[in-house]
């Protein structure tokens, strides 16, 4: 995989400590990189994880909801808001209690896969992350549902 140069940014957000290989999925889910510059470092050496990914997004600060979604994909991720080359805020994103839309239920006989309706998952446990479908009541791991995540629809 091609490693892009990861430079310091003037304004924006740095998402660090992403499990190695997950960065591109996050970019896809958040529909980043369409108009805004995004820098990705992948498979970088990390003391804590062995390997990690890092994303730097210019001129973008995330809402709490958006950060919470990233947390689903990368529970270990840390977020730093950069203004004028300085780290002004570190955020502790929380795994959301309820995830609406966004994830398709992996269970093919779940009603959500047969009707025009929004899915809904409740987070059952945080370590490791497991979620329960609000309809078929089945429990899935984060790896199960990552495969079924869809890009966030634009407002």
């Amino acid at each position: 995989m091609k490693v892009l140069k990861v430079d310091a940014i003037e304004n924006g957000t740095v998402i660090d400590h992403i499990p190695a290989g997950r960065a591109f999925k996050i970019i896809e889910i958040l529909k980043l990189a369409e108009n805004i510059p995004v820098m990705v470092g992948t498979q970088l050496p990390s003391k804590k994880f062995g390997r990690k990914d890092i994303i730097k997004i210019e001129n973008t600060e995330f809402t709490e909801d958006q950060l919470n979604i990233i947390t689903l994909l990368a529970p270990s991720a840390t977020y730093v808001t950069i203004r004028n080359f300085e780290a002004v805020k570190k955020s502790d994103a929380r795994i959301p209690k309820i995830i609406k839309g966004l994830v398709t239920c992996p269970n093919t006989i779940c009603i959500t896969n047969h009707e025009q309706m929004q899915t809904k998952f409740g987070v059952e446990s945080e370590k490791p992350v497991t979620v329960r479908c609000g309809y078929c009541e089945r429990v899935f791991t984060i790896d199960d549902i990552n495969k079924f995540m869809q890009p966030i629809k634009e407002e």
Partner: protein, 302 residues
């Protein structure tokens, strides 16, 4: 209580209240009247037995019912969505009882409709009225739901009834003896569920060994479809068979009862039926009282 969709929604207090109401209906202390109400039984997946039980429950309280059994002759066949069907039916009736192979169907209906919904089975997810009638049968025969020794026998892996019963009894502290063919054992995600912390599971192979300890033996059908190899099915089929000879030779406790959600096939031989321990037919009758209690509660008819 607005709907009865899943055992997961019912608190210990809800469960005890419904059991008490059912007991009062059975002994005629309560005679709910729903003569001004109409119930719809929407059975996307036909189940004559469950339709009969719900329909009788409605009629015993002087209510009226409309029934869809299977989707062959309905607008569903023409491609109507589930939500359109239930929204239309909800214009005519006061309560809807739904069975579907789609998991979460009843939950979805309860979110989009302004009337009470009862889940009569959604795929292999939930069948709360079955669990409630099982709890009622246990309470009625044992006088309590606490500190019982209960054997679970048969298909413990796919059996929705079993899983649901385990969670239903989790409120009360129980010891389960599990007896199942090798690849139909109770799933680990249930065995290790922190929500079942005050439930004890003991795996065993021999029915004869545990029968003297038991208050209740809950038997389920082992379905042929669960076996890739029909020879293996034939081998397993009779290995846990419950016969009159087995039961009486084991000196069961006086309060010992055998339950089965029915229909039974080979699991319990018919020579068990006359024994005082056989309780499966009364168990089916208890379904009537519990369904009356649920329908009357949801319709505010108590």
């Amino acid at each position: 209580m607005e709907h009865v969709i899943s055992m997961r929604d019912l608190s210990q207090a809800d469960i005890l209240q419904l059991l008490q109401t059912a007991a009062q209906i059975e002994n005629k202390e309560l005679q709910p009247d729903i003569s001004d109400k109409v119930a719809a039984l929407l059975f996307y997946e036909p189940s004559t037995r469950t339709v009969f039980s719900f329909d009788t429950a409605v009629k015993r309280m002087n209510g009226k019912s409309i029934i869809m059994a299977g989707t062959e002759a309905s607008s569903v066949k023409k491609g109507e969505s589930f939500s359109d069907t239930v929204q239309t039916v909800s214009q005519y009736v006061d309560i809807i009882i739904i069975r579907s192979i789609l998991e979460g169907a009843a939950r979805y209906a309860s979110e989009i409709l302004p009337i009470p919904i009862v889940n009569a089975g959604d795929g292999s997810n939930q069948h709360p009225t079955q669990t409630m009638l099982d709890l009622y049968s246990i309470k009625k025969t044992q006088g309590t739901l606490s500190n019982l020794n209960i054997a679970l026998v048969g298909d413990l892996r796919f059996g929705r009834t079993i899983h649901s019963l385990v969670y239903g009894l989790a409120h009360f502290g129980v010891t389960f003896y599990t007896v199942a063919p090798k690849h139909l054992k109770l799933p680990l995600y249930i065995k290790n569920d922190p929500a079942l912390a005050n439930v004890k599971f003991i795996e065993c192979d021999s029915l004869a060994e545990i029968i003297p300890l038991l208050d209740v033996m809950y038997v389920t059908r082992v379905q042929k479809e669960r076996f890739a190899d029909p020879v293996e099915y034939d081998l397993v089929k009779n290995s846990y068979q419950i016969t009159s000879q087995l039961i009486t030779s084991c000196n069961p406790k006086e309060n010992f009862k055998i339950l089965h959600p029915l229909p039974r096939v080979h699991e319990i031989t018919v020579d068990v039926d006359p024994l005082p321990y056989a309780y499966y037919f009364q168990q089916a009758k208890n379904g009537l009282y519990i369904r009356q209690a649920i329908i009357a509660t949801l319709l505010g008819a108590l």
